[in-house]
Symmetry: C2
Subunit: 126 residues, 2 copies
DNA sequence: CTCTATGCAAAAACTTTGCAGGGAT
DNA sequence: ATCCCTGCAAAGTTTTTGCATAGAG
């Protein structure tokens, strides 16, 4: 709870119970989550979820990206890392290795690598 | 036209006129395109476009990724390159610099870097 | 004749919006 | 009293599917 408060420091976000609930789920998770992933654990309407997660993004405490399953995945911005998205099974993996990409004048927020994951590669080669 | 035929060599793709039309547009383009980008130039129904572009993807001659404008962007697979997607203006830029990411056991098909592009950064700093 | 491709319309999937009611300050 | 948050329902957007027809070999 203390850490949830820390997240919204220096933002225009008022902590309602819906917002705390959302942020707690994401704070606990080790990987990006879609609305579908967590809807069973949320007592709020989907509109409330989407409105709040968008606000979190505007206030720069949450990141999002589209996977190839058409869903949007969200995560709290903490240590910068990359994501691997499997175009076969749609699984998302966080990659701790930092990419050395640097683009002067740009701000890099997220790196998504699309491809075929290890287990799907194995199946293909069998 | 010769190069269009070359694209479907060693695939199960029969060249219909709809397919030639789609491939010609993508062969000419220097950047990924969504259905919306090209629908005015297509004489076919959207179902035909989507069914065919999916077939191209299955046959590995086309790549796709989701931008943050909710649309899917397609391109013909040629020289491997990365894409920068601006989360502010949704513009897509192709980056010639290759990333040095390597993941043993994985197959990397595409790298998408999300962030804020140069021109949007400029506006922010004004 | 058979098999695949196409157009049209409808459906599907995910996300957003309008509006009215509720809570907090 | 005001302002923002929320739920519900409806709408919006992009992509996919069903079905009947058309076309190629």
């Amino acid at each position: 709870m203390k850490n949830i408060e820390a997240l919204v420091l220096n933002t225009n976000i008022k902590l309602t119970s819906a917002r705390v609930a959302i942020l707690e789920i994401f704070a606990k998770s080790t990987k990006p989550l879609s609305y579908e992933d967590i809807k069973e654990n949320l007592l709020m309407d989907k509109a409330t979820f989407y409105r709040n997660i968008s606000k979190f993004e505007e206030e720069n405490i949450v990141n999002s990206f589209e996977s190839n399953d058409k869903k949007r995945y969200f995560e709290i911005k903490k240590n910068a890392h990359s994501h691997f998205v499997c175009s076969t099974c749609s699984k998302i993996e966080c990659l701790s290795e930092k990419s050395n990409i640097s683009l002067p004048g740009y701000k890099i927020e997220n790196v998504i690598i699309k491809g075929i994951c290890q287990s799907c590669m194995k199946e293909i080669n069998d």
